[in-house]
Symmetry: C2
Subunit: 352 residues, 2 copies
């Protein structure tokens, strides 16, 4: 079965490129002595998590317990959940999960730590916790190195918990500032009597500069496995490295300067990630996907460009691979141009 | 079971509000002699399609064959697919579907009509086809009233097809221009010897002005059943009418002016529809959801506002209801504040 046999719109992954992306990242991590802990949010596929682990990854990263449960169900045993776990239902799920897989979590407040401690106080095995640090990304994380040290100390004192280290999701392209922050946090921890052994960073854009991020011992890239238009724009590889593509059909050619695809926001996602347009059409690089309805991709054909005809298929590199894989229940995986598997995206939609 | 028993993030629908929205729309359509053909893209639920039909809707509208198949499987028998059906696989699925449900489709080019005709030439029942008209929305549709008449004539001549009328997805708030366009198209069809009996328009924003849209005999609103922040901004009802909401939990309060929700783009969608921010927090109307990661909602707390604490729950009216329901497999439906059903969003992700 070939790509041309698949109905559209459909995402397609190229396993040859996936392998290449996995091995290039692992080789880099090995060269620099970094532990690799890929974020499964990009593919959401146990099969690809196992490819990453077999290549040498130490474990995986998940954002939500539901994702971690899917991975544990598929035999993945070393899981960092890089998200504050809050509320009784989730804490109880985490406790169950931690009995059958090696789980670690993060925390950025006393409130989160107290919930974790209360839940794990009577467990046979203490829960490893990393303190999440806001090194400039302005998402979660403690605001200062001193606050990181205070929570590290608290972690060492609370029943049921063990301090694992510091974790950050750093701002893009600010390697030096992030390093300064983490160095100050490590020093503050040491001053408070806590040694920091693991420092975990993430983000595909700066992954290949991870060796320049002083102190980082572990890295959690996600998108590198597929890459996408936003990663290429960030300087990570080229369009040829992008292993996830969308195949779409032209369903209307209503004007000289306009064609409409059967792929809209329910296929490409509305994510722009700061880019202009909603994807890159490989066969027609000059034609922009300028707007999306849910089921329509609105394309602008510049003057002088002979656009596609109704029924013609095009191949799109999406802006954001992770958002695309959250829209589909299954994804065809090709190798050498032929269908190798129709994979179920088992962790799709696991937002709880 | 109450909303407080549901884990977060989760969408929730209020069936009391759904009923109210359905009946208000049906009463308006009845008063003005309009056939109502709700678009199921908003809810994607056979259960709610049947509520709409029982209230008096003539049939439903779907955008893709996969959605229509789900509706037919659930006993819906009158279905307009308002999308050009292109390619052998989909044409064959349409032929199968049309043997078990009354299907109609649209076309905006000779290429689409020829594909339909070839597929239905030997069928016992001819396929009703509407000509899609671009009355200013610049999506699909023929560009001129004359072109509409030409395709109408072609439809009457092609084997297997029957001309049903004209269809448009009009631009918002341009009722007069749309009416002029359709009047010219009807006249052009008449001049060419084809009477237009059905003229179908759509879009919730102008639904309650449909009586002012001269000639329109059928209307295909979708979002009216739930409404959302974008509809309210367009002048359709109020936030209190919005039957779909998101319940989320505050997982981090990293700074005085910032809190982070467990609902990101995988819950709220990245759709802005021209609005600022990614949803309206009912309990904290001054706090803006200013950015989304996949699993994080980044909120700005203005000076002087006492923001929520970690663990607190908030209720969000999303920007775009249709995009939200495409992200979840199941949706809790409440009535009188209690859970009445956990509905499977059966037509979710049916983009083919």
């Amino acid at each position: 079965m070939y790509v041309t046999d698949l109905d559209t719109p459909t995402p397609v992954i190229d396993l040859d490129l996936v392998d290449k992306n996995i091995h290039r990242a692992q080789a880099y991590a090995d060269t620099h002595g970094l532990a690799l802990r890929p974020h499964i949010k990009t593919h959401k596929l146990p099969e690809l998590a196992h490819l990453q682990l077999r290549a040498g990854a130490q474990g995986v990263t998940c954002q939500k317990i539901g994702e971690a449960e899917v991975m544990a169900d598929a035999g993945v045993t070393d899981i960092l959940i890089s998200f504050n776990i809050v509320g009784r239902t989730k804490l109880e799920r985490l406790r169950s999960l931690a009995r059958r897989a090696d789980c670690q979590v993060v925390a950025d407040s006393e409130a989160v730590l107290l919930g974790l401690s209360e839940t794990f106080a009577n467990e046979a095995r203490r829960l490893p916790v990393m303190i999440e640090c806001d090194t400039g990304g302005q998402r979660c994380g403690v605001a200062t190195p001193q606050a990181a040290a205070e929570l590290a100390v608290l972690t060492t004192k609370l029943p049921g918990l063990v301090f694992r280290g510091l974790m950050t999701y750093p701002p893009k392209h600010r390697v030096k500032e992030v390093g300064d922050w983490l160095e100050a946090a490590r020093a503050a921890c040491r001053d408070a009597g806590v040694e920091v052994e693991v420092i975990s960073s993430g983000g595909t854009p700066d992954f290949f500069q991870a060796h320049a991020q002083r102190l980082v011992t572990e890295y959690r890239p996600g998108t590198y496995i597929y890459s996408d238009r936003a990663q290429v724009a960030s300087g990570h590889g080229t369009l040829e490295d992008c292993a996830l593509r969308i195949v779409a059909t032209v369903v209307s050619r209503p004007a000289e300067d306009r064609c409409i695809l059967d792929a809209g926001s329910k296929t490409l996602s509305s994510d722009t990630l700061g880019l202009t347009g909603f994807g890159h059409i490989l066969e027609y690089p000059d034609i922009g996907i300028v707007a999306l309805s849910e089921e329509h991709g609105h394309c602008h054909i510049p003057p002088g460009t002979k656009g596609p005809v109704v029924g013609e298929r095009v191949t799109i590199v999406p802006n954001h691979a992770c958002a695309v894989t959250n829209l589909f229940d299954r994804i065809p995986a090709m190798r050498g141009g032929r269908l190798e598997a129709m994979l179920t995206i088992a962790a799709r939609g696991k937002v709880q």
